[in-house]
Chain length 341, copies 4
């Protein structure tokens, strides 16, 4: 059975597994105070062109979003995001569990706009009525978005500007950051993000690592005692060198970008055929996720031979499905899928 | 430099790393719905002699304690534990972060007694004054304790009885459970724990796994929607098969017990010499942790050649240190350490 | 200056203030264990036709919603309500502060429907995808709603049925319950609410009391140790008899209903004129709140002589305002207002 | 039956009840934006000799402690207090419910010392081991303490100094502040507290008001959007003028101090007789609480005619009881009690 169900169904890129095997019986200090974390952080700082960036390595995405957002959101405030934002829909209430409302704005192709954000924030400043409401406290966006679309540098700069105009930090969730950085028409580089965001993540789990998300606080702006906060959220891995080692490998010889680019390219091949065959493809995206609306019959037929991601019922007769490639997707798998379309 | 600083400074037993390497490009379903988790759970159920046990696999200890305890502690209640309990001292307030007070009882050799617990619970039932206080809601113990001591079956049964007499679930933190199960004079087997506890963990991180803690709810008594709670705490590993695979290996051919027994045996050799040389050894323990009080001078001298765990200042001239062995400790390392004593 | 700004700008009905004055130097036990609370509870049980109802008296509305909802919402779940529900918009995130997401459904005249609710709950039961989402855990409605509309007995019964079909308790926020009970075409009596809801409140603050909200758990179904939970939320008034005394007075000789009916009647007079003069009146309501859309000019002119409640900007030229009567509104005040329309 | 059970069993001083009666049908803006709150705040600022102090009025003590402490305690930190501190023992876990551990230090006559505090804080700065522990984040003391003792100005200044040396704000819980300010050998005036503390409360509930606690942030140092935080905790009284009016009365013609002084003087009379008759009086205190150890028999006999506060069982034969006077205690009541001793 073919699988295009998600981008985290294979363990890890061979380069990473090999590094782990080489560790052997080596002793390392715990909790991230090891040479691998050090080396990885140095490489990430360089890639971000930000020598002062503070970097932590955590295990998973929800854990990272929860730990970071609860650390930087004031108690009286909530987290502004697109209505389809991962934190709003698919993290089981992890943000609210830390006491903060998620303030969802209507999404457009998975994005929010600077104008929307500005209007929303201004509404809180216009009158005292809002004192009984939840103030915006942080702006959360994903790059790429949940729908695989990519913010342009202009869009990102505008959102950053508006956020800062309203004294709000900007958090960029980069669970699939590699795929955004390597999308064909992307114009946002890692140093742009480090310059425009106040904190962002570089996702490993979906980009070739076994697991792991790097948290980057640009310009040395990490919250006080952040390691303690990571521990308090149960997010401090005892054997932290496992995370450091992976990110060290990912940021050696552009492995991170190469793995992500591969995922995008395999998706591009599929997208091309889908367009040729007039499939109903949603959202304009060059990253590794493809959302298509199928008739129930089409879906049923396809699923005999290939696992797709189920998104939602569109109406009684139609369903939205996701085709997702990854660093591990092979040309053969894509060819087989294309035959089925 | 020799290291006896802790039992989680080496990556993992070769049997485990090998299994991971063999995964290759295999696709697996996410979040624990894979064949490895299935197989591991089956083996654990068998080892516990509890065919109805519900089992989840999480990544780390604090995360597991936080997720489980917040799921089973009523909102009006706190978690009863020994004053030196890990949740009370070394988890950065992870329990309080979920809204619950930790109710610390004085420890004896790292343990609490059934009598202590009973007296404490009765005080809440004696008068209405306690309505403004935090009720006991769960009983938390560690096996072995933070000081490496092991509850006897009689002690455990009494604590279980008292807990249930007061309608409190009993949680056994088994971060080093292997070492307790294989301690020389231990009389508590896994099925005893499954019978006496309402939830317990089988620690992997300190017992030969790369990482991972198995959570066991005996007799099918898991909280409703526990997977959602795991997700909400950021504790649901995307590539859950990594956890399943490790516990599957650990519960094949008694690997878990063998690794733990090795750690204990290496500690026994050191303990023997410490006693012979009249070192001030604290706590009567047969597990892999040895606590000794040294003069500052002794400590300074030893630390030139061997890393020990720092516990606490005893007085201006003395310090308590921990010697900790693990599955990875070699005979040679122990011999070298003994020469230094 | 006339004021129709809200229904909590006057202290209390004279019958209540008089009772308080009569207390003199009387000693009473604290925290609600006094004879006034006892008597008030007895009268409310009778009015609800529910001899087993458990009753507590709290000070304010947000406090009550927070304390009750956090007590009955499972940790993995959120609170379902209308998008304009008070807990979703005007309580500064008090529900999220206790760890629970507010799950807002689109409102219709301030209401949600049983069909909407059923469809929403079914979506969680249809597929396992929802395991990463926030389950519905409680259904919250207001009677009357935020827009002054009143659920019919049929609507309420249907919502109750659907809630229970999905194992969800139904919470009815009765901050202005008196106004609903005495609205002209209302067919829902207090015993209906006690029969259909799992917990509800009888608001005092907006219905003639100095302050106070009665919490009623029908059929003896209060959560365990609820007094401790009230204390934990800082919601246990030391001099609880002040609350008991007020509700005792309100439930003597139908004072509660008489005060509310007066508010409705004064609103009816105003509504009649508004309709005659073709004002743009929103929502069909017979309770004490009237929502009208005015041009900015109209609003400006009116506000020279009368304070109204500001709701929201409708567009660049229009604004929605609220005219709110209360138990304290006099015929003279209404006549004056009518002259200004 | 005589009652010396507590200092909040009578409604309020006549001067306060009268003011409330005079309100009549007056309209006031809600939530503290009224003239009474304004006037009360002005008078308190003057009494504190701090023209920049920010002042809020809340209803109850636990509510106030919870709202203020959760607003000023960093997420990684806990609240340091004496082991018998109200927040540690008698507030049902209200602090932990907001995510913060209470860090209890051993008490001496109900107090902590600057030395103790310094040593505790230093232990966190000495080594990196503490990164996995809960940092001290705020210092909480009560004036008078739970045992009725009073910090001297020197003690208070030293605690303030140490707190600030370690970057911790100092919170003074003044639930019975009046009694401290008017104790015979007290040398701490309100301006001293305003100068030494970073936030403190002036308790009304136990000092002659119907209810109410004034929160004072000296030097304009209130947390951002504190009103929203008060609302979020369900602690924002709709009819805020009721609080303002009471504190306005209490801070007119020294009523607050006069009421408190009366309570102390009545206690002094009782204390004198207790000493004469060689009762076992605990703690050296000049405020309105007297703690005595009685034989069970003595207690039983006394309680036939007078209600005392039950504190705790001392041993099988002895019990600690509290005799508590208040602004409402009459000379006759004291005389009657003395006859029974």
């Amino acid at each position: 059975m073919l699988s295009f169900v998600n981008d985290y169904s294979s363990t890890a890129a061979p380069q990473i597994l090999e590094k782990m095997q080489q560790l052997g019986n080596e002793h390392n200090p715990g909790y991230g105070a090891d040479k691998y974390c050090d080396s990885a952080a140095t490489k990430i700082r360089k890639a971000c062109d930000d020598p002062k960036a503070n970097i932590w390595f955590l295990v998973g995405g929800t854990q990272t979003n929860q730990t970071v957002l609860s650390a930087i959101t004031p108690q009286y405030a909530g987290v502004v995001c697109a209505s389809n934002g991962h934190i709003n829909v698919h993290e089981a209430g992890a943000i609210e569990a830390t006491g903060h409302k998620v303030l969802a704005l209507p999404q457009h192709n998975g994005k929010i706009t600077a104008e929307q954000l500005d209007e929303y924030c201004q509404s809180f400043e216009r009158d005292a009525n809002h004192e009984h409401m939840v103030y915006p406290g942080v702006v959360y966006i994903s790059q790429p978005t949940e729908y695989g679309t990519v913010y342009t540098r202009e869009e990102l700069a505008a959102i950053s500007q508006v956020s800062h105009d309203h004294d709000l930090p900007l958090f960029v969730d980069g669970a699939r950051l590699g795929m955004a950085l390597t999308a064909d028409d992307n114009d946002v580089a890692l140093p742009d993000i480090a310059r425009l965001a106040d904190v962002f993540t570089i996702g490993g789990t979906k980009c070739g690592a076994i697991f792991g998300e790097a948290v980057v606080f640009p310009r040395g702006n990490s919250p006080k005692n952040f390691t303690t906060l990571v521990k308090q959220h149960g997010a401090l891995l005892a054997k932290g060198w496992l995370l450091g080692l992976q990110f060290d490998a990912l940021f050696t010889d552009d492995l991170y970008l190469k793995l992500a680019k591969h995922a995008n390219e395999e998706a591009d091949k599929i997208r091309k055929v889908l367009f040729e065959k007039n499939y109903d493809v949603e959202f304009v995206s060059q990253t590794n996720q493809i959302f298509i609306v199928l008739t129930n019959e089409q879906a049923k037929k396809l699923e005999k031979n290939v696992q797709l991601g189920y998104m939602e019922e569109v109406d009684a007769d139609h369903v939205m499905m996701r085709i997702c490639t990854s660093w591990a997707t092979t040309d053969e798998e894509v060819d087989e899928l294309i035959k089925l379309l």
